[in-house]
């Protein structure tokens, strides 16, 4: 085949392979893969490895004693509390929003979807700032809150509000495309067979979206536990009271207690790794489910 020969000669003189026309030469592939692996090692793997080596620098004992510090312990509790409140709130919101947007046709739908995504394009610091402006003693609401003894800023409610804001779009964003793709025929069938609205939701819609829902909740939870900027602005950094885990990392690091800082960071990194593993497993399963729903 003269054509193949001339093509691969123009392409890569080293190989006379027919497949060279739609892929790179072996040498080019090795260079490209090598470059990207180097990049991944430098920017993704190295930071992760550093967290764990620094945390265990002086052995497991010091790692554990760093974690049993009362302030660190209360930071872990606060982080779990905040995620425990804000993730379910956004879960309910996400289901409601995707039900309205994916199952119905109405005016202004695209605009509503844009508004839901809005918190993603706001800087974390600005997300905290807007709540400071709303509730500080200089604001409209501030004096009223103060006279009624309600504390929002520099207290748990403010941290929850800021966390809810930054994690606002996660669940809705996963569910809307999934539910749009699944359409309404399953629900219509259930309704025509006499199921009530709630029954249709529990027995038909929810099983259809469960993996997508879990995926959204997972990402929402990772962000809720790890949020730093927004929470740092509203928390007031009161030790043992309004410090979440990421804020505790900052405080310990700035005090040069590196092992303690990295010990808390290692817990958060472990959370990130677990999130990534579950996410990858879900992607394997979840994409198969979507492929199945595409078939009929």
């Amino acid at each position: 085949m003269a054509l193949d020969a001339s093509l691969s000669a123009a392409d890569a003189p080293a190989s006379s392979n027919v497949r060279a026309a739609t892929t790179e030469s072996r040498a080019a592939r090795v260079v490209i893969i090598g470059l990207s692996l180097l990049f991944v090692a430098l920017f993704l793997v190295a930071p992760l490895v550093v967290v764990f080596t620094e945390a265990f620098r002086n052995g497991t004992e010091e790692f554990l004693s760093a974690l049993s510090d009362p302030d660190t312990f209360s930071a872990i509790q606060l982080t779990l509390l905040v995620a425990g409140i804000s993730v379910p709130l956004n879960l309910v919101f996400g289901i409601a929003a995707s039900w309205a947007i994916a199952k119905f046709e109405f005016k202004g739908k695209a605009f509503l979807t844009t508004l839901i995504d809005l918190p993603f394009s706001v800087s974390p610091v600005v997300s905290g700032l807007i709540f400071v402006l709303l509730f500080s003693s200089h604001s409209l609401l501030g004096p009223w809150l103060q006279s009624h003894g309600i504390k929002i800023l520099f207290a748990v409610p403010g941290i929850v509000l800021a966390t809810v804001f930054v994690t606002f779009p996660f669940v809705a964003r996963e569910l809307i495309p999934l539910m749009q793709e699944q359409g309404t025929s399953d629900e219509e069938a259930a309704l025509s067979l006499g199921a009530s609205g709630w029954q249709t939701f529990w027995y038909v819609t929810l099983p259809n979206i469960r993996w997508g829902l879990l995926y959204g909740v997972l990402l929402c939870n990772a962000r809720a536990m790890g949020e730093f900027g927004a929470v740092s602005v509203v928390s007031g950094h009161i030790r043992g009271v309004t410090n979440t885990m990421p804020l505790q990392v900052e405080i310990l690091y700035n005090e040069y207690s590196f092992v303690a800082a990295f010990a808390v960071a290692a817990l958060l990194a472990l959370l990130a790794l677990v999130t990534l593993v579950i996410k990858s497993l879900l992607e394997l399963r979840y994409s198969a489910q979507i492929a199945a729903s595409r078939r009929h």
Binding site: P47, V51, L115, P124, G226, A265
Partner: protein, 285 residues
């Protein structure tokens, strides 16, 4: 039967599915309470400053420098991410090698790892006595505690945005296009640079815009590595925090409003370029 069609303007099309009122009601009230009221509070606060005050706060040299550093570093980091993000997406889509799935999962690490953790880890790596910094110090290269540190942190946080926007589009590329190019006598470099990459341009621009937007607002991973020297390595979000700690709310509000305005203007421009490139080159637009 013209039962539904001559009703004229309708807010929503009729449907047998129940729960529209409840679902939309919950959505709108939650959206208003959590997002719209707080954000409009910012708009109201900054507009009540008055044009004169706003302008004098915005023109403060420290603010101008901080904005420059934030946008400049985010721009550089997004450029690096475009190059390596496209390369990485290509490797993940086109090549099969051991460990590919793990690399694919690792790309999302910056989404999952809390920014403060990334910040202290990168600082430890690039500090003059760190694993990487120690090798660069003899060469006279300083990364941590300089603006280059900011760029490094922003490369970390922005990478998945480029990879995850380009990857699905790359998977859709029809191999026949490449075969056609090859049979018409194009060499591999020509096929990639003149057939494949232009078609990816809209997706690459979207990824660039997302990485840029994230980088401009990033705070947690940057403040540890930046050194935070005013006029040199102080980013705009940090300056907002500093002003807030001084209880200088007008200045904090003004910087935040400026950041939002510049970001929106930039995203608008990128959207226009994107619409243009999609008309001209895009796959299946």
């Amino acid at each position: 039967m013209a039962l539904t069609s001559d009703r004229g303007w309708q807010f929503r099309q009729p449907s047998v599915i129940p729960g529209f009122g409840l679902a939309l009601g919950v959505t709108l009230s939650w959206l208003t309470l959590i997002v719209l009221i707080p954000l409009s509070g910012l708009a109201w606060r900054s507009s009540s400053l008055g044009w004169q005050t706003f302008w004098s706060l915005a023109a403060d040299p420290r603010t101008v420098h901080a904005l420059w550093i934030s946008f400049g570093c985010a721009f550089l980091a997004a450029l690096v991410n475009v190059v390596f993000g496209v390369l990485l997406a290509w490797v993940l889509v086109r090549y099969r090698f051991p460990g590919r799935r793990i690399i694919d999962a690792m790309v999302d690490l910056p989404f999952a790892l809390p920014t403060a953790v990334a910040g202290i880890a990168l600082t430890t790596l690039y500090a003059p006595n760190g694993w990487i910094g120690a090798h660069l110090a003899p060469l006279g290269i300083k990364i941590a505690f300089t603006p280059w540190g900011i760029v490094m942190a922003l490369i970390f946080v922005g990478l998945p945005f480029v990879v995850r926007t380009v990857q699905p589009i790359m998977e859709e590329i029809d191999r026949e296009v490449e075969e056609a190019a090859a049979t018409l006598g194009a060499n591999r470099f020509q096929t990639v640079s003149r057939i494949l990459l232009p078609g990816l341009l809209p997706a690459v621009l979207t990824g660039f815009a997302l990485a840029l937007a994230r980088g401009v607002g990033e705070y947690g991973s940057v403040i540890f590595i930046a050194g935070n020297l005013p006029y040199v390595s102080e980013i705009a979000p940090l300056l907002i925090v500093i002003r807030l700690e001084e209880f200088n709310y007008p200045a904090a509000t003004a910087i935040a409003a400026l950041m939002l305005m510049i970001s929106f203007a930039m995203l608008l421009v990128i959207n226009l370029i994107q619409a243009w490139s999609r008309r001209r080159y895009g796959y299946g637009a």
